[in-house]
Structures are given as C-alpha cells and as structure tokens.
C-alpha cells in the first residue's frame, strides 16, 4: 500500500482548489465540534468535579443572582460548629453582569488568609504578602488577565469596584481562572455601606466520609430560625442550578457539534464521490494493470481519510489554540463555565476526523470495487 503512496498523494492534490475547500470544510466542522466539546467539558468539570461534590454552597433561599443573596456574615460561626464541617469561607460575589455573557467579570471577596489556603490556586505572578497587606489588592485568574490584557501593578475598575492587581493565578479548577479574588471587607464596602457584615454565600468544606446532602439539610434547618433562610446544595448542584438556562443552551449546542460533524461527512462524501466519478476509467485501468479491486477501494478510502485527517487536525489545532489563548468563558449569575483545551478534546477531534474520513470513503470505494471494468474503460 505504501508503494502507492505517491499515487494516492498526487491523486489527492490533483484538483487543488477542490481539495483545499474540502480540507477547509473539514477544518471548520472539527473546529466547531472541538469548541462545542470544550463547552460541554467545561460544564461537566463544573458540575461533576471532586470539588463539586465535596463542598457545599449556602445561599439565600429563593435567590439566584448573587446581588440578591444577602446572608449575615456571622452565620459562618454557626455553620463552623456543625459536625462534619472542616471549614467555612464567607464570600461576597460581585459581577458586572447577572445575565448570560461571554465576558463576565466576577469578583469573589473572601478573607485573604482563607483564599491563600485554597489548594487549587497557584500564583504565577505577584505575591501573597502584597495581597494580604493591601486592602484593595486583587489576584486575577489567568484567563481574565489574558482576555482583558491585565498585568500585575495595574489598577482595574468594573462599576464601582476598583482594585489593584497584585497577582495572577492559575488553578486546577478551570472555571476559577475566570475569577478575581479580593478581600471580603473591601468588596463589602465597595458594594455600599449596607453590605458590611453581609455576604453572598458560604462555601463549606465537608469532612471526608460525611454525607454532604445530610449536612446541607442540617445547615438549612439550623439557620431556619435566623433572620434569613438558606438553601444549601453541593457546589456542583448549586452551579448547575445557577447555570440552568445555560445548561439547556449547552445541551442544544451539543447537537450542533454533531450536526457540524454530519455536515463534514456529507461534504467529504460528496467530494469523494465526485472524485471517483471523475476517475472511473482510471480506476478501471489500475485494475487492468493488476491492482486488486479491494486495493483500489483502499486508495479511495485513504484519500478520503487523508483529506479529513488533514482538515480535522487543522481545525482541532486552531480550536485548541484559540481555547488556550482566548481564555473564553461563559457565565451567568456569577458562575462561569471555562472553555479549556484538553488532550481528550484533541483525541476526540482526531477520532471524529478519522471516523468521518472512513465513512465518507466507504460508499465511493464500494462503487469503485464493484464497477464493471469494460463499461468503465469505455467511458
């Protein structure tokens, strides 16, 4: 088969414009597939990760947007006393936009010492000391920094909040890289004096072996007698609920990903069929020279595979590069879904390209292998 590689290669590039357009089509299809896959993976990470199940979020009952949830900060002391609680972090959330947006900016205000204990965060620029020592200091997730062109030493303003950037961080949890962490009391004051002593939510770390759902019920029943009723859920469930509208859209976009693959299949199958119809006589000549029909069929499939693999690889690489450098995220009501490149995305992009290339070549290959030689030679 490899001896015929020059023939297959030259056959593939004989109609350069047609081949280039097909490769471009395959690239666009796989690009869309990878982007949609990244959104889906981002959602899965957010709702199914370890952190999603091992910590709880306490929010004001019947509230959805962070600006409307106002819990007394001293609830933290009550929650911390409950059995099974390892730690409680009061958090003030401030966002520039409560609606769905591709450029959502979310400030999370928490005690700086608690933020420093988050084992998911790693500062890649700046230092913890300057973050802890300055009340208006902020550390910025790498994706926000890239998207907004932010760097250490700059000041950054959204609405009535102005912060000094003292660090850029990476996180093992992708959606955290779309956040900006500030001091809790700073953010409370920035949102107005009425917000001092009030926070948006509590993140509760659950001791291993404790049932998070049972603990959530205990927290809600304990705080039921307080001035504000709460709803406590696993972090994953909370984020899925916050992003419920987006989840529906993402599920729909998922189908668009499959549709784009279907389009590539249809485009490639048409091109391969056209290419084989152009070469009915040539394929017959090859068989007269002694090439087995099944081998000629393999030439057709190889050509279709190569075109789709080249296009798919280009599309996959562009998608992964854009995802890596763009720092894209979609968010709503303070929660964000990060679109991250991943090896599994690269592998699935290539696997889809191979599968589509194979399927697109099957029917034309079958036609070539079964065509009568004499009528084919007389064309």
């Amino acid at each position: 088969m490899f001896r015929f590689a020059p023939y297959i290669w030259k056959g593939m590039i004989r109609h350069r414009a047609r081949t280039a357009m097909t490769i471009a089509g395959a690239a666009v299809g796989v690009f869309v597939f990878c982007c949609v896959g990244a959104v889906q993976q981002g959602l899965n990470r957010l709702t199914q990760g370890v952190a999603a199940n091992q910590s709880l979020i306490v929010f004001q009952e019947n509230r959805f947007c962070p600006t409307t949830s106002r819990l007394p900060q001293d609830y933290a002391t009550t929650i911390a006393k409950l059995d099974g609680v390892v730690g409680v972090v009061p958090m003030q959330v401030y966002t520039n936009n409560c609606r769905a947006s591709l450029d959502i900016i979310v400030f999370n205000g928490a005690p700086p010492t608690d933020i420093r204990k988050f084992d998911t965060l790693r500062l890649i620029e700046g230092g913890w000391e300057s973050f802890e020592s300055r009340s208006d200091a902020a550390i910025v997730g790498i994706h926000v920094a890239r998207r907004r062109g932010l760097s250490v030493g700059q000041s950054f303003t959204i609405g009535e909040v102005t912060v000094q950037i003292v660090g850029i961080f990476e996180s093992t949890v992708a959606n955290e890289e779309n956040l900006i962490y500030t001091h809790l009391d700073f953010l409370q004051r920035a949102a107005g004096s009425a917000n001092v002593g009030v926070c948006t939510l509590f993140e509760v770390l659950v001791r291993e072996g404790v049932d998070p759902d049972r603990l959530a019920t205990t927290i809600d029943s304990t705080l039921h007698s307080g001035p504000i009723a709460t709803t406590t859920r696993r972090k994953g469930a909370f984020q899925a609920s916050t992003l419920a509208d987006l989840v529906d859209l993402i599920e729909f976009a998922h189908w668009l990903g499959y549709a784009s693959v279907g389009l590539v299949l249809s485009l490639l199958a048409t091109t391969t069929l056209m290419a084989t119809q152009d070469r009915i006589k040539e394929h017959a000549v090859l068989q007269v020279l002694g090439v087995r029909p099944t081998r000629v069929a393999r030439f057709v499939i190889a050509e279709s595979l190569m075109i789709c693999l080249v296009g798919g690889t280009i599309g996959m690489l562009i998608a992964l590069t854009a995802l890596a450098w763009g720092g894209f995220a979609i968010g709503a009501e303070g929660a964000t879904i990060a679109f991250e490149p991943s090896w599994s995305l690269a592998v699935s992009g290539l696997a889809v390209s191979l599968l589509v290339g194979l399927l697109a070549g099957l029917v034309p290959a079958l036609k070539v292998a079964t065509a009568d030689l004499v009528p084919s030679l007389n064309q």
């Binding site: 030259k10 040539e282 000549v285 007269v288 020279l289 002694g290 090439v291 030689l373």
Partner: protein, 236 residues
C-alpha cells in the same frame, strides 16, 4: 502446448431488448512468441475477445487458458493478480495516469510484484529504452505527444515481462507517421524480444505485420493468413 488456448468461447448479452452474440463457440490457439492480429467490422466482438483473454470480461460459455492458468475460473481479485504478472494491455487511448510522470506510469505495475527498488528502476529504464523515451522519463502525459503517450503505454504493458500482450487498436487514435512508429515498435517487441501479441485492429497495414491474421465473422474466427512466428517463418 499452445500459450493461449481458447475453447468453445461464447459471449451473449442484451442490448436494447435484443440478444447480441458477438462470439459464438470460438476456438483459438496462440503459440508462444506468436503475433496474431484480429480484424473485422465494428461491433463484431474483436474487443470482446481481447477483454475476455485479458480477464476483464466474463464469457457466457467456454474456457480460456493462458499458460497454466484457467483464466475463466479465477475470481476478480485473482484475475487482477494474474494480470499483474502475466498480461500486458495496450489501450487505444493510452490511458496513462495523468498525475504520474512517464517513469511513474511505467513503474506502477511493478509495485504489484515482489521487486526491489533497484530492480524496478532497472526494468523501467529497460522499458523506456525499448520505446525510445529515456529523455522523456520525467514528463507528464500532458507534456507528451500522442505517439509518445502510446509508447509509454506500450512500455507499461511490457515492463513486467508478461506472458502475453493484448493490444486494442494501438494505432487507432494516431496520425499516419506516429502510427508507423508504433507499428515498428510492435514488430520489434515480437521479433526482437519474442513477445506474444494478440492485436485487434481495423488497419490492414497494422494487421499485415502479424504472423497470423484472423478475421471475426458472425461471431466465428476465420483465419485470413499465416505468415510467421517470431524469428521464424511458418507458413503463408
């Protein structure tokens, strides 16, 4: 034993609701090194006979043996294998692969044989030399004249050193001068290289080069004349 032995060969097919019988109970023997031409009006089944011998068409009845191989009993895949090593086919319209150079076109059938790269190069160069196209080896078909293309086609047919070469109107699409060059080349293949040729033609001049001239008449073969087998005259 004859190299090609055809017995009781018939071909029947339907065309426009009518039953056509281009070949009916044909018997034919071709000796090793013999040059046989087959003439006859259009539609009398000359090309059909050629295609049956080459194993690219199936007979309705009868048998064809080439060397030790019963061609009519082989599957499509086995027929392809057999052609690769035993049969050279010269087309009327050259049928070169347009994206390959003359050299690559000639080398193509050798990929199917267990030959080293060096051996392939050697054989292609011999074939190119035999057809006088060494200086055109790296030209694409579109850069060659009709006669040169046909010569590449002939080189491709002989490069695997087949038992038998079949040629379907090899001068049919060429002008008089070029046709004459191809005629000389065919004679050379038979006389100097001792190749066995079965040639279909309308052209009396081409047919007259053959040692044995046959005519197809109402599906039957009629022997017109017998002149010579390669390198020796056997009758008149």
């Amino acid at each position: 034993m004859s190299l090609v032995e055809i017995r009781g060969l018939s071909k029947v097919f339907q065309k426009g609701g009518e039953t056509v019988k281009p070949l009916e109970d044909v018997d034919l023997d071709i000796e090793r090194g013999e040059f046989v031409s087959l003439m006859g009006p259009s539609g009398t089944g000359k090309s059909t006979l050629l295609n049956l011998v080459a194993g690219i068409d199936r007979p309705s009845a009868g048998s064809i043996r080439v060397g030790e191989t019963e061609v009519t009993k082989l599957s499509r895949a086995k027929l392809a294998d057999w052609r690769a090593g035993h049969l050279g086919y010269i087309f009327q319209t050259h049928n070169l692969i347009p994206v390959l150079t003359a050299y690559e076109n000639i080398e193509l059938p050798l990929f199917l044989l267990p030959l080293s790269r060096t051996e392939r190069q050697k054989r292609v160069n011999i074939a190119l030399d035999a057809v006088g196209l060494v200086d055109r080896a790296y030209h694409y078909p579109r850069q060659l004249s009709g006669g040169q293309e046909q010569r590449v086609g002939i080189a491709r047919a002989i490069v695997a050193n087949p038992q038998v070469i079949v040629a379907d109107e090899p001068t049919g699409s060429l002008d008089a001068d070029t046709g004459s060059q191809i005629r000389s080349l065919l004679c050379q293949l038979n006389e100097e290289l001792g190749m066995t040729l079965l040639l279909v033609t309308h052209d009396r001049e081409v047919a007259s080069l053959a040692g044995r001239q046959l005519r197809l008449d109402h599906g039957k073969i009629v022997e017109a004349s017998r002149v010579r087998v390669a390198n020796s005259t056997v009758g008149g």
